[in-house]
Symmetry: C2
Subunit: 124 residues, 2 copies
């Protein structure tokens, strides 16, 4: 008797799976973490999420906007200024994603140790 609720996300036809796919994504996670402090403009976001390309950041933000997780504020100025912020829905993501980020930092030493011993076991 598997006591788990058997999560619908596991079935390929379930729409909630597309939602999981969006959220269980490294760029999404980092963007949401960055925006959880407060709204940010594109350039600062690009600097904070170190290593992301302009193109991929744009695509990530578009997808998040489409899913109702961030909103896009365009200011008709020169130079142009565009700011992004989490929606109410996006803020509900803060806790789960923050937990994931904390996990990554808290357990990185164990992960690195596991990798080292695994690699040592594989190619001697």
């Amino acid at each position: 008797m598997p006591e788990l609720p058997a999560f619908d996300v596991m079935t390929a036809t379930c729409p909630s799976r597309t939602s999981l796919a969006r959220v269980a994504n490294k760029w999404t996670a980092m963007v949401v973490i960055a925006l959880s402090a407060d709204r940010m403009r594109f350039r600062d976001l690009r600097a904070t999420v170190d290593g992301i390309s302009s193109k991929v950041l744009t695509e990530t933000l578009r997808d998040l906007e489409r899913d109702g997780i961030v909103t896009r504020h365009v200011y008709a100025e020169v130079p142009p200024r565009v700011e992004y912020e989490l929606t109410a829905l996006g803020r509900t993501l803060h806790a789960p994603i923050h937990a994931l980020g904390s996990w990554a930092e808290d357990h990185i030493s164990e992960v690195l140790a596991a990798r080292e011993s695994y690699d040592a076991r594989q190619c001697p």
Copy 2:
């Protein structure tokens, strides 16, 4: 005064980022959720994580094994039997990833509504 701890995962050179990348991944999330009930053999895992190919499941499990999140039990039988289970480290992932899965299911209707209104706004 950004009160956030400024998460090292955001910097490209930080090792914890590789850990986040592994964990913030849709297949990883689904496999960990599946294994959180109890250990499972390959074939059942493949059936539970609906839509994953044999190859991708193998690779995902190898990566998780390398990172010390699952262990692999091979039984020298015929037909062959290979079982996977979460390590102690892997079980610490259960809560964060389960939270993500719950989020996906709890908010899917909002996400779908957002998508619909976004698409309606874009291509009239």
